[in-house]
């Protein structure tokens, strides 16, 4: 027990007096930036893909786009995130002759990846909305796109909010692999604190606690949003 307290004291010393907190804050910031930006990009990509996939398939262009989207989704759901990160960083960027910071690479890959997952969630959400909603919109002369964006998707989002929350939590957790391409996330911060003293027990425990706190906060946030959005279900 004394040993543990000693370790805690040593960790706190590094954290508070030797600038360790700076690393942790940078790590926390990068972790959250990657997860949030990845989610936002994912929502945009996912919504676009889902819209294409539920469109009536009369036209050849729509069928071609649908094929492409299903290929995209298959590609990103069929390979591990780490592999996507590594391929993007060590294969795609050199081939294209581009330079990007590690964090930007992580954001891009997380966005592309979550776009694939979110498109499936969103598609389910759109299909769960009564087709009469689309008909109602079309009958007053609104276009397919307008009805989709203003009537169907808002209702779909309400239905899938809990699932989206899970997706966001999964993203936050998966950020712990971004150090593979050198992005300084929470894991790298605590790893570097630990390697200064060859003492990993307390740093990794602290890291685990931070992850749990983040996930709990997100869960609460989603609850609040759900309650807000369900106002149209309440009778008065």
């Amino acid at each position: 027990m004394n040993g543990f307290i000693f370790k805690v004291e040593k960790f706190l010393d590094i954290l508070l007096n030797k600038g360790g907190y700076k690393e942790v804050l940078t790590g926390l910031q990068n972790t959250m930036i990657i997860a949030v930006a990845g989610l936002l990009i994912g929502i945009v990509i996912g919504t676009l893909i889902a819209t294409v996939r539920v469109m009536p398939k009369y036209k050849a262009t729509v069928r071609a786009m649908d094929k492409f989207c299903s290929f995209y989704v298959g590609l990103f759901r069929g390979t591990p995130m780490v592999v996507q990160l590594l391929v993007f960083y060590y294969v795609m960027l050199p081939l294209l002759g581009l330079k990007m910071s590690s964090v930007l690479v992580a954001i891009t890959v997380f966005g592309l990846n979550s776009g694939a997952y979110i498109s499936e969630i969103m598609r389910g959400g759109i299909l769960s909305v009564d087709p009469g909603q689309m008909e109602g919109g079309r009958s007053v002369g609104l276009s397919y796109g307008t009805t989709m964006m203003k009537i169907v998707i808002p209702q779909a989002v309400k239905n899938i909010l809990p699932t989206m929350g899970n997706e966001f939590i999964a993203l936050v957790k998966e950020t712990s692999v971004v150090s593979f391409v050198g992005a300084k996330d929470l894991y790298l911060a605590f790893q570097s604190i630990g390697s200064g003293t060859y003492e990993f027990m307390v740093p990794y425990l602290a890291m685990a606690i931070i992850y749990i706190v983040i996930v709990c906060l997100i869960t609460v946030l989603i609850r609040i949003m759900e309650r807000r959005l369900s106002k149209s279900d309440r009778s008065r």
């Binding site: 009469g132 008909e135 009958s139 007053v140 002369g141 609104l142 106002k231 309440r234 008065r236």
Partner: protein
């Protein structure tokens, strides 16, 4: 007003509408009746191309709207539709439901005007900029005013900010009817507007429809309400197996049905 020429509609191998031709004139109240599965809904939904006709034309306002090249949205604005299950927008309040399409159409037009003016100012397009005499706020205020007027007409102005989920079936259907009225349509299509309602709410919806009829609205109504058909209809279309088997005034049709099928049908519904 609407001219239907050789309309055919198939779902896969199932030919549901077989070469239907008829003309609906301004002010007419056409009531479509017939046995279940005879194609009444499909016919009605082809009139505003909710279902794309397999072949044939629907001439509305001088344009064949069955032509896929036509911008159908523009024409649907002048052709209201009322559904069995109301299809109000669940994520919008009552007043938003009514204002949505008018506001959208007007703001779209305004944006287009502004874009054209910008191009003209930059000399990328010929002509002098047109004067713009409205704004988005004004469009919304105007639409709101009109929506409230319509709500007052059905006595539901106190429900303006309620969501559809809190309305009774009869109230929902009356809101759906005035939602289509908000676009000032030339004709309104009704697909069994009272079939999903509790019996005590059928009256209020039929009363509103009679009201519209009295004001001269052109109406095409699929219904099982024979009383309404007799009282309000100016022409009855009896459909069977994808064709208009018989048509005539209510007096002719109900008083003296010509075909075995219609006699049989009437004997079942008029008990």
């Amino acid at each position: 007003m609407i001219e239907v020429v050789n309309l055919c509609k198939s779902f896969g191998d199932n030919q549901v509408l077989k070469n239907i031709s008829t003309t609906i004139k301004k002010g007419e109240k056409v009531v479509i009746i017939g046995p279940s599965g005879s194609g009444k809904s499909t016919f009605l939904r082809c009139l505003n191309c909710m279902e794309d006709p397999t072949s044939g034309s629907i001439i509305f306002g001088g344009v064949d709207i069955a032509d896929p090249k036509v911008d159908i949205n523009v024409h649907r604005q002048k052709m209201g539709m009322v559904f069995q299950h109301f299809n109000l927008f669940n994520n919008k309040t009552v007043i938003e439901n009514i204002m949505m399409a008018p506001v959208h159409v007007a703001t779209k037009k305004l944006k287009k005007q502004k874009r054209a003016n910008l191009l003209k100012k930059l000399h990328l397009k010929k002509g002098a900029p047109e004067a713009i005499d409205t704004s988005v706020q004004e469009i919304k205020a105007h639409a709101r005013e009109k929506a409230i007027e319509l709500l007052k007409r059905i006595g539901l102005e106190d429900k303006a900010d309620a969501y559809p989920s809190s309305l009774s079936g009869g109230q929902k259907q009356r809101v759906a009817i005035i939602r289509s009225l908000a676009m000032d349509p030339d004709v309104i299509l009704f697909d069994e507007p009272t079939s999903a309602l509790d019996p005590e709410m059928v009256g209020e919806v039929l009363d509103l429809m009679k009201d519209l009829a009295d004001q001269g609205m052109t109406m095409v109504v699929v219904t099982h309400e024979m009383g309404f058909a007799k009282e309000v209809g100016t022409r009855i279309l009896f459909m069977d197996e994808g064709t208009i088997l018989e048509e005539g005034t209510p007096e002719e049709f109900f008083g003296n049905p010509k075909t075995e099928r219609s006699k049989d049908f009437l004997s079942k519904v008029l008990i």
